[in-house]
Symmetry: C2
Subunit: 274 residues, 2 copies
């Protein structure tokens, strides 16, 4: 008998919500490691029945029944999946009843319901924001930085680019980024292009050992990647940010999602995507 | 009295899971439009009490109690928030009991629990994939395309770039993109750089009216943006993709998340981030 256990995150659509919810629930159980499998687009009775067969086969292979965390919207499909040999947790059905009572309206149970006007507006803002982030990455400015909602500053490889892209994708924020480099530290002045935009600057910093690790993957054995150089750059960058009154976050133990959400909140940015 | 009603999505961390779950639940109620507010980082009793005051003030201002959808992990904090004048729906607590029984382990209720080794591996894959997408955007190849897990092809502005970035950020997939342009249609041949990589090509297409709208925002009044030109390019691109046996998706009414998830599944890509 196998000691592995499997968790399935199932949805009629992308499965991203089911996966995020399920993963965060399961990390609450220390010492328990499950094989996590996301199963998107279960949007017909046929697909549901195939999925049931997959669950039942997994139960036999694992020697223990799987856990299924569902955001299935369609009652009939959820009903089919609930018959599988698994602990079936339905994060949708469980809240529909109290919401129906509270709102005095019946749920439509239609898959993929959304407000199409909103969708187009969101799409537009997202694309604009992504294009903005791409054309203002790493100080490469094709358009004016004055259009930025926020400009992230910090030493090379501290996490500015993914944070900008996440701000753009998730919230529609126009986020530029601008590196702080040794030349800036010798004068202890902000680069001219961003000096007048101080109110929109937000800093990232990182612990030297982590920066060394990241830079070393990029340019192994370079002076750029040495611990001494990382320590120097970070110390100077932090001093410059403090001198200029730029708020900054330590990216070392934060995910890109956490950095982006924290900056959104702290800098009081107005999101363009809901 | 105001007829608006408010929904809060609250979390000890970024609130992104609560927001996605809550938003998809609420779109099930046709004709009901709520003001949706995400409240991240409620990670202390003080913050929870401030949030309760905000909820109660909103109940008075709206003339109707708000809805609160929570992924709060800490029982004490959730307990404080549950006392507010609102319909409180706790997506965490509701599943912890059945999971504890099933797994035979008590939940830790610790905020931000995660596997730190996983985190570093995920961070590494995500950054590598984002860098890869950035350096292979729109046919601009600084490194070899042969390293790509997938190469998206399609006409200019059909959604390739955000889909590549989403594949990178969410799944750690190395996604390049390569535009199909009028020169390719005159020869009805794939560009030389991607011809030998046919098995890794995946197409996006779009409806002409939508493409016209997107291009017109970018270059108003240009020939590039005319409906006739959009129709021509799309017809030729689809013919070329069919001729070459490249699978393709219509991006018109799909979100970036749906495109990325569908491509992950259809192309049987192995995700590097969990």
């Amino acid at each position: 008998m196998n000691s592995q256990r499997t968790a399935f995150f199932v949805s009629d659509r992308t499965g991203i919500t089911a996966e995020m919810l399920g993963h965060s629930l399961l990390t609450q159980f220390e010492g328990v490691r499950l094989k996590e499998i996301t199963v998107p687009f279960i949007d017909s009775a046929d697909k549901a029945m195939n999925f049931v067969r997959q669950i039942n086969a997994t139960a036999i292979a694992d020697g223990v029944r799987p856990i299924v965390i569902s955001t299935l919207v369609n009652t009939e499909i959820a009903g089919i999946v609930s018959k599988a040999n698994a602990l079936f947790l339905d994060s949708f059905e469980i809240f529909i009843d109290p919401l129906e009572r509270e709102l005095g309206v019946k749920a439509s149970h239609a898959v993929g319901r959304s407000h199409s006007t909103d969708d187009f507006v969101n799409y537009h803002h997202r694309i604009e924001a992504v294009n903005y982030a791409l054309s203002h990455d790493d100080g490469v400015s094709k358009r004016e930085l004055t259009e930025a909602d926020i400009i992230l500053v910090g030493v090379s490889r501290c996490g500015k680019t993914p944070t900008c892209l996440y701000l753009a994708m998730q919230f529609g924020i126009r986020a530029a980024n601008y590196p702080l480099i040794p030349e800036d530290f010798s004068t202890m002045q902000l680069p001219a292009q961003i000096k007048s935009l101080r109110a929109r600057l937000y800093g990232l910093t990182i612990r030297p050992a982590r920066l060394q690790q990241i830079r070393n993957e990029r340019r192994p054995g370079s002076k750029y990647a040495t611990l001494a150089n990382c320590e120097f750059e970070i110390r100077e960058a932090e001093a410059l940010m403090r001198q200029e009154g730029i708020p900054y976050l330590d990216a070392t133990s934060k995910s890109v999602e956490e950095l982006a959400t924290t900056i959104l909140q702290e800098a009081k940015l107005e999101r363009r995507i809901y």
